[in-house]
Amino acid sequence: MASIDINQVSKLYDGGVKAVNAVDIQIADGEFIVLVGPSGCGKSTLLRMVAGLESISEGVVRIGDRVVNTVEPADRDIAMVFQNYALYPHMTVRQNMAYGLKNRKTPKAEIDARVDEAARMLELQPYLDRRPRALSGGQRQRVAMGRAIVRKPAAFLFDEPLSNLDAKLRVSMRVEIRKLQRRLGTTSIYVTHDQLEAMTLADRLVVLNGGRIEQIGTPLEVYHTPASTFVASFIGSPAMNLITGHIDGNRLAIWPVGFTFDDEAAYRGEVTVGLRAEDLTVAAPGQPYLPFRVDYVEELGAVRLVHGFVGDQALCASLPVATALSGEMRLGVDPQKFHFFDREGRRLALPFAKARMTFGAEAATVSA
């Protein structure tokens, strides 16, 4: 039970490659933090540095109040759940779970008590005397968690534990992991590339890209106020639509339409506009709209995803199933729900878009 402080931590490899670049994360005691990002973003490397399986090139990691940079993994009071379970093939389930405690000279009665308790929690009692090769993937994963639980560590580290399971199992195990962590209250760092897992499990998310942090926040924060185009397109499914527009004075042009506001913009020039698929509707009469040329439709059952073009930019709208579709449509938009990003992809706060607005059907060509 402890807080974890990751302070300016970097990982350098020979040849100057920085897999992790000056990362700062403060994790409160009992928090469930998810490190999420695409392959190669450094999330696993970061986790392994906290575990002690990789050396820390720069920066300091504290577990509790203790600096653990040079502490052996077995002494850091952490437990890890691996992607491919890493169970000891020659030991039974019971022996697998007891191994860590045995090495720490825990009294036998205590070991038995903890193993039984974990087995009960994870419904592993019938399998205690089996070897890993006689278990299914889901069962093995639960044994891996059991092995972590019995240690009662200061923190759990999860390295993409659900990646090797089939889709259905993944969903049910996700819930189990969350419930377990809530019940035990142990600080947890969870690594995944699946944004859905990240959203449903995290107290707070850390979105990583190329070794750097793009954003830290609660799932809703990250969803509703993405700090960059990367976060915007990574979190949420379908991905946020990112299209190009121009701002000049008090006018936002998204060709072939334009929005004129009562307020001057604090920005000028080319801008990336983010639109969530579910924020697009079929335009009611009088409502501002984007002229939309339909390309194809994906029926999901609950909604339909309509893909098409505004001008020559691709867009995807999430529309109710009963919507009538035609080749040319008008997608209703609410500029108050626009997200703005600058040329480097960083979020722009543009309050002018919240002001009263008049809608123009043709865009003036704006000089950048």
């Binding site: 077995a74 952490i78 890890m80 691996f82 379970y85 890493a86 169970l87 860590g100 090495n103 090769r133």
Partner: protein, 293 residues
Amino acid sequence: MKRVQFDSRFLPYLLLLPQLSIVAIFFYWPAAQAIRSSFYIEDPFGFGASFAGLSNYTDILTSPEYQRVALFTFGFALVVTFLVLAIGLTLAVKADAVIRGQSAYKTILIVVYAIAPPVAGLIGSMFFDQHIGPFVKFVALFGWDMKVGLNYYDTAFALTVIAVWNQIPYNFIFFLSGLQGIPTSVREAAVLDCRSGPRRFFTVILPLLTPTAFFLLVINMTYSLFDTFALIDVIVKDKPADNPITLVYKVYADGFRGNDIGSSSAQSVILMVVVLVLTLIQFRFIERRVHYG
């Protein structure tokens, strides 16, 4: 077997013909001869052979000389096996542990595999030569007057050292491969569960190496029994009488030198049974390994 197979009428037989015909002519025919001869005693003047039932077998099994050779053979096999397993494992563990220079170490430690037993024997015989051998000069400092080729135990010692030297690379290769076959995540889990390196080795790594170890056990026994023929021939030269030899060498000596075909054949058959047992053990354990982990 494969799920999908061809159904050709003649092709499989055609494909097998070369291998099978060679096996028939150069294996089964001599093997059958050997078994047949074991039941006959050749007339000393070369005029024929008379049926002798099992007397070749009983003679040889009760002969003190044979028992002495058998004792040496199995003792030799056990000592060599134990030493190559231990040294091969140690070197493999260390080579696996270091990161820098691993490929250089590997290359150097593998090289000796390519050296033929007779060559090893030749070099070894000179290392143990009474006049110029550095080994002999070294142990003379401790008062040991080594006479390889004349003294039974000195020769046995030299044979063991050279055999071990020759066979370490093979064990090294397999143990290293076995070690690198253990999933990294299992080893990392062990690092998290157990602080002490030696303890990790004995509770996690070694148990997972047992299939490799069993396999090597059988291989090494086979090596000591048969592949050391050349070694013995080189060191012992033409004086098998007072020197340690293996059972295989005795088959050769009795057959080619002593011209006692019957006895030599009986010894061959006895060795065949030994190999049968060893091969059965090997295949049983290999089957087990396939399902392991």
